[in-house]
């Protein structure tokens, strides 16, 4: 590991000041950053350890049903917060489908938003990667592409964003609270990430030194609590990133959809919200026809970035299934295998 400075600021403003120096990186739980440093994938000159900053590890509930989640809240603590899980069940389900219990116990909300892609060519420092070295090229193109993006990719980058948590968050209009040298600002999560274009090294709208303080969910998002699911298809039952995932949330009255929310994970370099598909469902009757039409709209622009055309058809089917599950209603208890197609399989002892 390279030599680096380690700074442990006492306040947010000290942290922002320290991290504004070029070559700095924020350290929270380090579940991703430390691996990247050990592999020589990133080599920050200074680590600004924010894991002990005061006031960032709470969950505040607002009277309108919305809430504010501190950036240092652990993934597991948030998922197991009963009030939170009751209002935003799809978010809790997504959290519990991610990583492993050990990682969820450590990983933070802010860190989850900022985790890096799992593209193997990003991690393999001998490969060309425009994210690591702008202008170097992309060895993922023409390489192993099974899990790469089918939406929003560019010639410069075909990687995907790996988060589960962010998929329902983006569907539910989450807001990211950011503090920087010029003060505090709110950014909708939907516009927080950048698509790769020609500058895949710029992954979010964060400016140097900016720190995520919290994620807010509006009270209006809690109105989907009765019909909200997250579905994640993966290569093994647990501890695997999504091949494709979907968050689906509906407001239904007398069998008709008042409002729909839909976002996809594992398909693009950001959690992929599909407003056109959402709009197509408004006023429609719940059912396979409505959901299939929404799926077709959601994937209308999808293009394989290599040997991964199957992900497009898979994504369509996942959308239909997730919407169908949401229409049935949020289960009273968190499934033993959260977000799994096998969530409903009964009778077996399950472990995640």
């Amino acid at each position: 590991m390279n030599r680096f400075d380690y700074i442990r600021p006492a306040t947010v403003s000290e942290a922002v000041a320290a991290a504004s120096v070029p070559g700095s990186a924020y350290l929270a739980a380090g579940t991703n950053l430390i691996d990247l440093m050990k592999g020589g994938v990133v080599r920050p000159e200074r680590l600004v350890d924010v894991s002990h900053l005061p006031g960032l590890d709470g969950i505040e509930h607002f009277p309108d049903g919305g809430l504010r989640i501190g950036a240092l809240v652990r993934n597991a603590d948030l998922a197991h917060d009963a009030d939170f899980a009751a209002r935003f069940p799809a978010v809790a389900e997504a959290l519990l489908s991610g990583a492993s219990p050990q990682l969820r116990n450590a990983a933070t909300v802010g860190g989850n938003l900022l985790q890096r892609t799992r593209c193997a060519y990003f991690y393999d420092v001998a490969s060309a990667c425009n994210k690591r070295t702008p202008g170097a090229g992309c060895d993922a193109r023409g390489g192993q592409t099974r899990l790469q993006a089918v939406l929003g990719w560019s010639e410069a980058c075909i990687a995907t964003h790996p988060s589960d948590f962010c998929v329902p968050l983006v569907a539910l209009d989450a807001i990211v609270e950011i503090e920087g040298r010029s003060g505090r600002r709110d950014v909708p999560l939907e516009s927080f990430y950048r698509l790769p274009g020609d500058t895949p090294e710029r992954e979010s709208v964060l400016e140097a030194g900016e720190l995520i303080l919290a994620v807010r969910l509006p009270g209006t998002a809690a109105a989907f609590a009765g019909h909200a699911r997250y579905l994640k298809v993966r290569d093994r039952t647990s501890y695997a990133f999504a091949i494709v995932s979907a968050a689906a949330a509906l407001q239904i009255e007398s069998g008709r959809i008042l409002q729909a929310r839909l976002a996809l994970g594992g398909v693009a370099l950001k959690p992929w919200r599909t407003r056109a598909a959402e709009d197509s469902m408004a006023g429609e009757i719940t059912g396979p026809d409505t959901f299939r039409r929404a799926a077709d709209i959601a994937l209308a622009d999808a293009q394989p970035s290599g040997d991964n055309a199957f992900k497009i058809e898979l994504a369509r089917r996942i959308v239909v299934r997730a919407l169908s599950q949401a229409a049935v209603g949020t289960p009273k208890r968190m499934p033993a295998l959260p977000a799994s197609p096998f969530a409903a399989v009964s009778g077996a002892i399950t472990y995640v």
Binding site: M1, N2, R3, K38, G40, S100, R118, A120, Y121, D124, V125, A126, S127, D139, G142, G143, Q144, R146, V233, R234, D235, R236, T237, S238, Y239, A240, I243, F310, E313, L314, R317, I318, V320, R321, L337, S340, P341, F342, A344, V345, S346, A348, I349, T350, Y351, V352
Partner: protein, 753 residues
Amino acid sequence: MSEFTPPKAPAHIRQGSSIGQPLTRRDGFLKVTGAARYAADNHPAGMLYAVIAHSSIACGRVSFLDVDAARGHPGVVDIMTPQHKPELAMDPDAKLHPFMFRMDLLQNDRVRYATQPIAVVIAETLEAATEGALLLAPRYEIETAAVGLDGAESFVPPGVGAGNPAAASKGDVQAGLAGASLRIEATYETPSQYHNAMEPHAIVVAWHGDTLSIDMPTQGLVMTQSRIAAMFGIPPEDVHIRSPFLGGGFGSKGLAAGPQILGVMAARMTGRPIKLVLRREQMYGPVGHRAATRQTLRLGADGEGSLTAIDHHAKTTSSTFDDFFEPAADVSHTMYASPAIATSHEAVRVNTGTPLFMRAPGEATGSIALESAIDEMAQACGMDPLAFRLKNYAEVEPISGKPFSSKALRQCYAQGAERFGWATRKLEPRQMRDEDGMLVGWGVGTATFPALMFQGQARAVLRADGSGVMETGAHDMGQGAWTALAQIAADGLGLEIDQVEFRSGTSDLPDAGIAGGSAHTATAGIAIHGAGADVIAKLADLATGDERSPLFGAGNTGVLARAGRLFRRDDESRSETYGDILVRAGLAEIEGRGSSAPDPAALSAYAMHAHGAVFAEVKVDPDLGQIRVTRLIGAFAAGTIINPHLVRSQYYGGMIWGMSFALHEHAIIDPRSGRVMNPNLGEYHIPVNADVPSIEAILVEERDPYVNALGIKGVGEIGVTGSAGAIANAVWHATGVRVRHFPITLDRLIERR
């Protein structure tokens, strides 16, 4: 065929009750509390850390290393390169016998596979050595890498596996196929897989003058000892290796490999003790792997569903510089009766580390293909897959015609099927759904593994205080050697297990043979058994020849050793403790020796194999293709079971490995660079707990009078075989889609619907 007589019972009988007991592992407490000392847990005074810098290219040469930058990093002590390294007494590329793995010890600047060691940085701290290795920033002259099964011209290898011929046959396969009423031909592919023991290869090593003190995990203490000694030109007895525990080996720690030798070289060069531990990604090259295969099976059957021909051809990969060829087709020698059988192999040399034995080498790869093909043939015949297997049951070993020393496979089929509920299976695929709409499929696979034994030795001591000692340099890779061998030792000495001090795991003890081929319990166990017999016989001689002993004159009728006493066989009221016999004779202790070796007469007379039947239930999402194994039941017959608790664990581990083979494991190799792109346990998938909901192993009774004196067969590898095929067959039964490319992943089910 030579005459064979089963071993004659010795005059003196020993009785014990440890064998067969389901003891929990005796080292469990140490492991759970962290007190078990693995190689890398050692920190001799003055120790330095060595970190390997490895090649990122698969073919070419290293043109530049920034040695100055690395040397300038604080804490870096020295850097070993092809230009700066200690002399070796032997060429690392020499191969004097097939069990010698060619090694990359910085002999030149050539690169022949990705992750090949190209330098070693030695530093005061692990961090400094790691950073030093990064600072070397190698430059290369890159040549085009040969990658994969089609990466080079193929040839017929000189032999496969551990010296089997590349081709074998009996009968006329062409005629068998031509005369068949039904024929199938299918090609199956299996990927490169890596052993991925939890504990990476490691060494902590110190030179004391010209002798070596080493902590390292090894499955072959004595072979490793002599290999290291030869590399440095010192006598083997001057190399002392401690390997009390291995965090898994699976074949990758059987033969000494380059990285650990580099540690010894670093210690030589610096004059200080060295610790060298492979990083996880460095385990994907220089320490062996299971090579990819492409197997074509052609089967013929008559109108009654009897096989008329089995033709099994396997193509595999090996490295450009060494010879190991996965013997995938050989499994067809022993499994199903057929008047005509032909097996053959071809290989390509590509830019990969040399493949090696990996848990059920050949049997695992061959079995998943053969079991899939047998299922396809059963389907073609319109027969239940289990009925088809019974119809083609091999009463004698198909390729050789030899009788089996024992074969309780019918009981395995019957007990497994009964427990599983196989009788209600629907013949056609895609007929079963569960209450949630998931497709349900049932599959069966036959398991087999040869019952091997190597040469081993043991030393037994009985002491005047009534206790015993048993010594053999055995290897506990997690399978439970510390426990199972101590059970055999206790019975061999006629003592309770707690009265026996069992010494194992170091190179100064009698050679217990390599812990491979599922042969360790038999090899070490028979040596222990023999050492016990020897020491009891000597003790009996003392007693029966001494007129002061109540056993005087019992030499002809013999004595019986039990609970620390010798009894007259014809009059158990006359007995004496071991201690009394020794004290009267004025001896503090008495020593015996035992050895084990396969019996050539038995080997030529009998085919010796363990057998089993595995039944799998899978559920498959009809739209999304995600697969989950929901039940896995294996019934295995492997002769005498020394410890049913540990054996069940071995079967579980093997069956989960089979599941991993069928559904998960594969090295993702970039076709251009030849690099493994998932060299870590996050992305190189093996099953997690949630993938293993219900698993059962049935221990089927089997007595084998021929394999060895205790009737022990092996249990370590057989669980892999059969399981992988059973799961593949269950996926077909659930979906109607026959995936012939392993692992079976959901995209193959999605695309083909």
